[in-house]
Amino acid sequence: MNKKLSIVATSLVTTSILLAACGSNGDTNSNSNGKEKVMLSLWHNYTGDDQRAQTMRAIIEQYQKDHPEVELDVQAIPPDGYRTRLKTVAAANEMPDLFVMWPGVMTKEFQSGNLLQPINELLDSKKEWKDGFLPGSFDGFSIGEDIFSAPIALSPTSILYYNKSILEENGLQPPKTWDELMNAVTVLKEKKITPIALGNKAAWLAQSSIFSSLADRVTGTEWFLKAAAQDGAKFTDPEFVEALTYLQDLGKAGAFQDGFNSIDNTQMEQYFAQGKAAMMIDGGWALTNLAASASKETLEQMGATVLPSIPGGKGDPNTISGVVGTGIGMSSKVKDAKKQAAYDLMYAMAGPDAQKRVLESNQLVSYKVDLDKTKVTPIFAEVYDLVNSVTTTPVYDGVMSSAVADELNNGLQDLLMGGKPEEIAKKVQAAQEKEAK
């Protein structure tokens, strides 16, 4: 009796481990019967019920239907956990064949770990497709001559959205210069209307949407790229401190509503959509959110323009900071027949046809497509025109390493609570120096 029980207890653990292991082995083998099928794994984060996610899922399903010889192992991973998941498998060197990937830092880090392979071959074989992308589309995905992905989205980050009727009622125009902006802030403040909605709880928003463009107006793009490379410019330079001071002045003038550090970007977008603020500085991603949650009348009230110019600034005022969005990356381990199938799927997901469908789901793309304006919201059409009429400047966290961007994000929160611009500049510079070591 005793013996039996003890055997049960001890073997409980071991047997179940064995069983589990067997189970997984059986699974992988069972696929090999029948004809030689190409197995291809794809990870994406298009899980939701929004238009873009639905479009992307439909494209993937279509590919599976058209390619019976390929067995797709598709994994839809919730966006909240997508990066954590991807970084864990990257640490263990177990990347899927294809995966949704961000330009800039992530591409750089993955490339340095030999996890990626270039897709120049694919791009060069479809010249027309490659030429269809807007200028600079591949910058964030390129290292040297190698291009690692093609973007399926475009994120202009600093668009000045405004509520036409609020501005009109107060005799104001969308501000073109810094002084006009400050004047608008004063006028609206007196009427007890929030001039600019801001939700900076997640900390990247002020950096990505306001500061990237504002600082570019002050310092010019060239200075920033130099400073980020620590090549002849430093973040302690007077122009950077000046840019920080401009943002702080805006905050001090009372441009933002109370408690902007404790609400997030979605709440900010809602606040603006409900007509509680006259303006909002936000990225292209707001369009999806607005389309989903604002009424038709409110959407018609909205306009979009660039951030105002800065007196004596070195940067071009007719610009919007922006980055290309995610693309599909390919693991360095993909070879032979698999590679062809992977190329086909990549083209299906980022090719001209896909770009058009994505655009029509209220998501900007970095690709020349004629927009059928009846298919999207009016504010989307306006932003689309705007983006096509200006040049794009870099976004701070698209260029800086994530540790430095993190320092700047927290610094900007501090700045808007009254922190000294010089101190913050010093911290950012210190973080950048540590990174360069």
Binding site: S16, S24, T47, P79, T84, E94
Partner: protein, 275 residues
């Protein structure tokens, strides 16, 4: 006497008030599930103007909650049974026996309670990848049980410490061995502690996001928390569907809590009769 009744009435009244405040979030969750996204933001505390019944079926379908509910039940159930059996056995030994390495064993288990789970993700992933455990129910069940064991052992052990020595002596006189004492006396007597551990473990297994995210990649094996977070895009969250999905997911845990609570309150009586 009258005064005492009054003061206990007052205490009950105050506590009832507190209880109602504590229940409010649940009520808020249920009503929010019926709201549109716009209403979720513009009128967070009011009742919905129109009741969106279809958000439940949409959430269920879009995130394939049928599959994930099934998986969650299997994973949570298996983990729960293993945690309780293995944990109670270890607790019984640590509580009723003296041996040389006892303190070392307890120290080891304590260590496991202290590590933040996120820093174990990568090592665990590599270990389980090596033994081919990833993408099986085992990839969740074993880590769940292992991480829950310390808490289970400590709670059950503290509870068993209060049993008088005479109980075992009586069992011994009846000719019961250690296994018999454990199964027929210790387990039933510890029912309240087992239920306490059961509730805590159940909630942790049912709600775990990190392990489920990293160790499971097959869609047909995913558990509920993954389904629940599908409606956020990183830039916005579809709260209508999120709240509906959360409501569906929380109902089983409430029912199970009520069952466990019964056993906490009645365990003593039942145990006494059986023993």
């Amino acid at each position: 006497m009258l005064q005492r009744r009054f003061s206990s009435g007052l205490a009950n009244g105050l506590m009832t008030l507190y209880a109602l405040v504590t229940l409010y979030p649940l009520f808020w969750l249920f009503t929010s599930a019926f709201k549109s996204n716009e209403e979720f933001y513009s009128r967070p505390f009011q009742l919905p103007t129109t009741w969106h019944w279809d958000s439940f079926s949409r959430a269920w379908k879009v995130s394939d909650m049928g599959t994930s509910m099934f998986n969650s039940i299997i994973v949570t159930g298996a983990s729960l049974v293993l945690t309780l059996i293995i944990g109670a056995l270890a607790a019984y030994i640590l509580s009723r026996f003296q041996f040389r390495l006892k303190l070392a064993v307890m120290g080891l288990f304590l260590l496991g309670m202290l590590i933040p789970v996120h820093s174990t993700l990568v090592p665990l992933f590599i270990v389980m990848n090596k033994i081919d455990l990833l993408n099986t129910y085992g990839a969740l069940i074993f880590p769940y049980v292992a991480f829950e064991l310390p808490i289970a052992i400590f709670i059950i052990q503290a509870y068993m410490n209060t049993f008088p020595k005479e109980i075992e002596e009586a069992a011994h006189l009846d000719g019961m061995g250690y296994w018999g004492t454990f199964l027929k006396i210790m387990l039933p007597l510890s029912a309240p502690a087992l239920s306490t551990v059961g509730i805590l473990a159940l909630l942790r297994f049912w709600n775990d996001f990190s392990f489920a995210l990293v160790f499971i990649s097959k869609p047909e094996l995913k558990t509920l928390p993954l389904s629940l977070s599908q409606f956020a895009t990183g830039y916005m969250t579809d709260y209508e569907l999120t709240m509906a999905a959360l409501t569906i997911a929380v109902i089983p845990t409430i029912i199970l809590y009520l069952i466990f609570q019964r056993s906490i309150m009645q365990g003593m009586v039942a145990g006494a009769v059986k023993g």
